[in-house]
């Protein structure tokens, strides 16, 4: 009796089965890229540069930039694999996996840098013949530094962040006088009331301003508007439990109360009525707090709405009506500790500081990078509303360099929850301010920053 071992025929059967399976599995991951966009195998080829960004609308500009001869020469013929619409989860996962791209833009720069994921590029920038710090707006240039080190290569876009953009056609139809746009919260609220309409059953049809949309989503904005500093970079102390914070929560909350919190949230769940301009482009939202990119982006995405776009100063309370508040901050190309081709990543960032790249980005996407010599060449009537942003730089009374706090994302998250509790009348604005302060301090400590 041959009970021990496997006889030859069965051995063959089994091994055929298992090898077949193994081959199937082995082929599987390799087969995907070839079936995909023809990406090269990541065989550490030095002549490729990978560049990721979170924006969804930069792709056409990237395609054009790469086609230029100037860019090809600048990168020494290297192939650029760019990947847009890549959210921060995907990037962080890749960082965690030790396979970050060579360059990346539009992520939480400070958080990446303070955690040691990205490198200090001071020396690379100093050695560059293309990047000239003196040619870049001061606030913008300074925003590149953290603790005296340079977090990334400024470029792509970065200019004035805050303007109240208004659809004047809708405003005129609502009987408003559009020769001067509203400046104080009281005035803006009157406009909001005029621009918010409901049907007979009480359903929201359109609204004026979502006071927490786009740039107004962040604590930077409410604190600058109401004139206090929510976080001190020097001392690392929070001042969220400020009476003016409570006041702000109440004033801004009134906008949502007027439109109806549930109706408001419901509108946002509709396809094409999301935040950051979608609802504005759809003509459902008629005022929005956005920056220099808004006129161009709207023009490119929805010209029939863009033609009525006007921009003016961000709203402030009546007792601060002469304050012209403005924030700035650059976008960077950051390079990771574990990037394979750091030089390549840097060169992409460098090239964003050329007129060629800036022209393409301006025309294709509508974005501005605050390089003075290039700004001088911009026709401010290119996009409706752009003139405000081009002229504003000299009239700002209060500057904010935005998004500096290393737990900015955390604070935004908590701020979002607590302000909603305020406008739903679940807690008082004072209690919300106090709670936000408490949570921020606890997180600061939990992260070992204190």
């Amino acid at each position: 009796m041959k009970q021990n071992g496997i006889n030859r025929r069965q051995f063959l059967q089994w091994s055929a089965l298992t090898t077949g399976a193994a081959v199937l599995a082995a082929c599987a991951p390799a087969a995907a890229p070839s079936a995909a966009t023809g990406e090269e195998a990541p065989a550490a080829a030095p002549s490729t540069v990978s560049y990721w960004y979170a924006w969804g609308n930069l792709d056409p500009a990237m395609a054009k930039i790469i086609e230029t001869e100037e860019f090809q020469t600048h990168l020494g013929g290297a192939t650029v694999e760019y990947k847009g619409s890549t959210n921060s989860d995907a990037l962080l996962t890749a960082v965690a996996a030790g396979t970050p791209p060579d360059g990346a833009s539009n992520y939480s720069y400070v958080e990446l840098f303070t955690r040691g994921a990205t490198i200090d590029v001071t020396d690379m920038v100093a050695a560059s013949s293309v990047i000239d710090g003196d040619d870049v707006l001061e606030g913008l240039w300074n925003s590149a530094f953290w603790d005296g080190k340079m977090m990334g290569v400024p470029g792509i876009e970065g200019y004035l962040w805050w303007g109240l953009n208004v659809n004047v056609d809708k405003a005129e139809k609502a009987g408003l006088d559009t020769t001067t746009l509203p400046k104080t919260w009281d005035e803006v609220f009157e406009w909001h009331k005029a621009l918010t309409t409901k049907d007979e059953a009480g359903n929201l049809l359109q609204f004026g301003l979502d006071p927490y949309d786009a740039m107004a989503n962040e604590p930077d904005f409410i604190s600058a508007s109401f004139g206090f500093k929510w976080w001190d970079e020097e001392t690392g102390k929070f001042d969220l439990n400020n009476p003016r914070m409570a006041e702000g929560l109440n004033v801004l909350g009134e906008f949502i109360r007027y439109a109806g919190p549930d109706q408001f949230a419901g509108m946002r769940q509709v396809e094409g009525q999301g935040t950051w301009g979608a609802a504005y482009n759809a003509g459902v939202q008629n005022m929005i707090m956005e920056g220099y990119w808004h006129p161009g982006e709207t023009q490119i995405q929805q010209p029939d709405v863009a033609q009525y776009n006007r921009a003016s100063w961000a709203p402030v309370p009546a007792d601060r009506k002469d304050a012209n508040i403005m924030a700035t901050g650059a976008h960077f190309v950051v390079i990771f500790n574990q990037s394979k081709n750091k030089e390549g990543g840097f060169k992409i960032g460098e090239f964003f500081n050329t007129n060629t790249a800036q022209d393409i980005i301006f025309n294709e996407v509508g974005w501005i990078h605050g390089r003075k010599s290039w700004l001088a060449t911009v026709d401010k009537s290119t996009f409706p509303g752009l003139d405000f942003y081009v002229d504003a730089a000299n009239n700002v009374t209060e500057w904010t360099v935005g998004r500096r706090c290393p737990i900015n994302a955390f604070v935004i998250n908590q701020y979002t929850e607590l302000r909603e509790q305020v406008f739903r009348d679940l807690i008082s604005p004072e209690a919300a301010a106090e709670e936000l302060q408490k949570r921020a301090e606890a997180e600061w400590q939990a992260q070992g920053l204190g």
Partner: protein, 305 residues
Amino acid sequence: MTAITPRVRGMTKTEKRNQLLGMLFISPWLLGFLLFALFPLVASLYYSMTNYDFIRQPQFIGVTNYTRLFTVDPDFWTVMYNTLYYVGFGVPLGIAVAFLIANLLNSNIQGRTFFRSVIYIPSIVPAVCTAMVWLFILNVQYGVINGVLKTLGVPTIPFLSSPELAKPSLILIYVWAQGTAVVIFLAALQDVPRSLYDAALVDGANAWARFWNVTVPMCTPVLLFNFIMGIISAFQDFTLPFVLTGGGPMKSTEFYVVSLYRNAFVQFSIGKASAMAWILFLIILLFSVLLFRSSARWIYYGGEK
């Protein structure tokens, strides 16, 4: 089984061979158990006692993550409340509805297979697809339900955009997807001996009495089993809340695993996420123990009747 050879000092040759073969056959599972269950469980315990963000090296901080979760963490108790609400209302309701449907299907009707399929299919369709259609149906502006309300001139219902209604709306969808339970209950109902109903009928019991005195007691084991399994799996629900509401509005649908995912893979607070994972593990362990301990009672039930 094959031990026909007389036993000589410990194991016979056949026994030795079987011992070796048996262990060889189950070795893939044993290895997988060590690699993909035991090791990560222990590793998870270690990470839960560190401060770790994937980028910097883990720092050992003892039970700080646990104490922070229970005391200062802004979200933990909200998340716990949301999850208990969802589990506490959703599971009993799901069981009740599924059991009633199973009873309807078990009556003397034509087309049972068809109705069973209709009820069951929603539970196997990819959750992402059902999430998409529910998003659409429950939408305040263009959803079909609110479309009908608008036609009638009635105010619309903000199913997913109101913090009060978001959880009930998700429970509604949960109940809709309980087809699996219906199938299990139907199988159990069909195993109830007919003689019991006959006897009850002879005693003059009406339909309602037969349901309470025969059907329910006979199905208690399977009801209990499904109840506990339902709790365990509802605790882990992710796709529907994540896709439908993303945890909002106002964190009212931030459920346990959604929060765990966010802490781990969005905030990269690995220590905190691991502590949450262990707390989840202990909760589920508790219910598993309940399940096993109560299983003795089901066998008793089954034996007696």
